[in-house]
Symmetry: D2
Subunit: 252 residues, 4 copies
């Protein structure tokens, strides 16, 4: 799958590293705002060896998206930039029926409406946390709540000391489960990468669903999973549940 | 729901205690092999106060099942006895279209075939561990495996020192997930009531599904959950998955 | 060791059950405010079989402490009553050099001063949570903090839904570690008996100390441990640390 | 503190990174077998910015230890090489009263005797796992066992899929606690960095001591801790317990 990546911060780099090492992905280019490292091979910048991918770093400064998509065409764009990134490349991608996979943390209502417009012409997917683990956890937790609607639920999330505010992922979990924000307990200590625990308290038993992050590369594997499962989908707007649900039938 | 309970060991008693306290269940009788406590009110034997249920302890010695089912009719029989219990009451129950819910730990092939014969005439359900938590865990774990078939899976089960052998629930989990018995780690220490953990190891993230037992009454709540969800089912043989799956559609 | 117990609530009963089953303790009497079960054998009330102890339930209504201590003398009084219990029996016990082990949850300054006065004549011990586990945890946590004074510490405590307010044990832990109350995260869900976790977050590693309660009988074993380790002590006021520290030398 | 490091594998590099960033350490040189990167600034090789340390990579091929210690003298040598490394630099270091801190995984009896010979002239310290966390855990676990000698103890260790055999740290824990190897449960799944759990099972309560590794830099912080606490010690052979124990008095 020919792929382009937008955004080259810490997470963008981790995602690029995973894609470069995956046999079924060719990373054609990384598009970024800055012109640092412009023109260099991505695999050289990230010191990934033995990759067949020759993709290079491209700066928004010196390229128009239209030209880029014509000269180095891709099947799929992965967006790890910021919420206004979609205005930069969205129309040109949709016109060419290139699938859009956005892992941007947040969109406002207007931006989301724009995404859904693009979805009339191509596959558009959005998840603010694209790891398989977190999305599975939310899905499994919602399922348990539908079985046992009166069970007590609390969330404990743990992160490194410097992380400000309640984790966005925990907020999304709470929202999916109809919990008030007060049911989220936030621990900040040392260098904990990221741990989310949903506790279901029954009278005579307790169930815990726990997700622990080891490193940012988990986002890269999430991209691979999503991209592979969107391959044969018709144009439309998709979220993670749309990808997970079909596995239930298989499972059944 | 008028209910009869077969078996009055530790777990049977805990189940009876839960049923006595539940507003929608009337425990009509407990049938046991021994003639201890025969004729006494169940709520007196178990010291459960404020129950409207007048059911009594009945001994197999002094009653025929047919007579019992005629004189103190029930909608549903809960079986916490042993594997040959089904031969004692099965035909008489099926003839009267009484639902059978068996929580017996193990049946051999012949016994299972008999259960399925009875299922032609009435609803027959079997689960060797009838708690909601354990069955949810198995279901959720199988679902994750269907999404990520190559993930590494291990099980850690912890129980009190005296428990011999590998936990039957852990074996069932391993079997459901296609794991070898060597993937089960058994900890035996002090008075741990019962903890089962399924660990899913991805390269960059870990998911843990954990079930902790607080007390045997969890089996009682499992019975309530199963009995309520079998109410409008046609005759047939059912397992826990058949009860959990419909919640997915609701959830979707 | 001849022992008397004051207080016969849920925890008092659990403690009595443990003492009745312990070969080195003779439970001479239980003293309670109410006159329920007065005069009955404690082992009959609690349905503990095969105990050699003939101790009975005594009501404060019908007995003076002085007479009780003369007629049914003990080596040691275990106090699970309330904070003013000490005024009822303290002087009479101290005059007879009977050791006092109090597990009352809270004393005010005046009451504590009274305890220390009694300690001039006999051994007086107080711990608001007399389980070995919780006290070991506090000791071990303080030790780690003395090694790594700048480590981030947070506490997560989990209890059953109905428990009001922050756990007293968690507050004591926080106090011992110089933590603000805001570092305690309280989860309330279902029937969790009691779990306390102290999390030490270093930059590149995390240490967790966890205590899980299985049942109230843990208080009984705490009493046994404390009573055995106070046997040869001279009169004085003792806390749990005084009992734990001598094991360090043995350990060294 | 002027420091020299021997060994430049993955862990050696992580340790060097920590030392370069620490304001009280000057990393004078790294000595390695290979002649790769020879002569380069260590901070350049490891891409650590803003360090005042000008130390360079030195190869054993082109330098004699005696010359190195004369021309670039250090207070302390950190050894992350292999078990025969000590023969290469030991005598020259001891003669100059340079403190030796070895974090080599294993020494045989002969090598250990040699270490103790060197300890007649200088401070010699050895720990096969030099992280503070693991050593604290062992210390705290031994202490609990001395308090409660009959408690049931089991160890659960979790590591990445590729790790062969039982973890050396778990073996050391078991050995310190007098446990058979069969009490160690090893989980191998995905990319788990490293987790060690000691479970103490009492009849009515459970205590868990857990250490989780986040990254190899924990070894660097262990070196810093050990080096700082050896500063004023007289010549002699030291292990981790010798460093931890003095904190108990402070604590007391």
């Amino acid at each position: 799958m020919k792929t382009g990546l937008i955004g080259f911060g810490k997470t963008g780099r981790a995602v690029a590293t995973v894609l470069l090492q995956h046999p079924e992905f060719e990373l054609e280019w990384v598009l970024r705002k800055s012109n640092k490292q412009e023109g260099r091979r991505i695999s050289d910048v990230l010191e990934v060896e033995n990759t067949i991918s020759n993709g290079t770093v491209v700066s928004m400064d010196s390229t128009s998206v239209g030209d880029l998509l014509d000269q180095q065409p891709v099947d799929c764009i992965i967006d790890f930039s910021s919420e206004d990134g979609i205005y930069y490349y969205g129309k040109e991608a949709a016109r060419r029926a290139i699938r859009i996979i956005s892992a941007v943390s947040h969109y406002d209502e207007l931006q989301l409406r724009f995404l859904k417009q693009l979805a009339e012409k191509t596959v558009v997917f959005w998840s603010p946390n694209i790891t398989l683990g977190v999305n599975y956890l939310i899905f499994a937790a919602k399922f348990l709540k539908s079985i046992a609607p009166f069970v007590d639920i609390e969330i404990v999330e743990e992160h490194f000391k410097q992380k400000h505010g309640v984790s966005g992922t925990a907020l999304k979990m709470a929202d999916s489960l109809g919990l008030k924000k007060s049911k989220i307990n936030s621990v900040r200590a040392g260098g904990i990468v990221g741990k989310h625990q949903v506790i279901f308290g029954f009278k005579y038993q307790t169930i815990r669903l726990i997700h622990e992050s080891i490193s940012r590369e988990a986002f890269g594997n999430g991209v691979v999973f999503v991209a592979e499962n969107l391959t044969n989908k018709p144009p439309g707007y998709y979220i993670y549940e749309d990808i997970l649900k079909p596995f239930l039938n298989e499972h059944a």
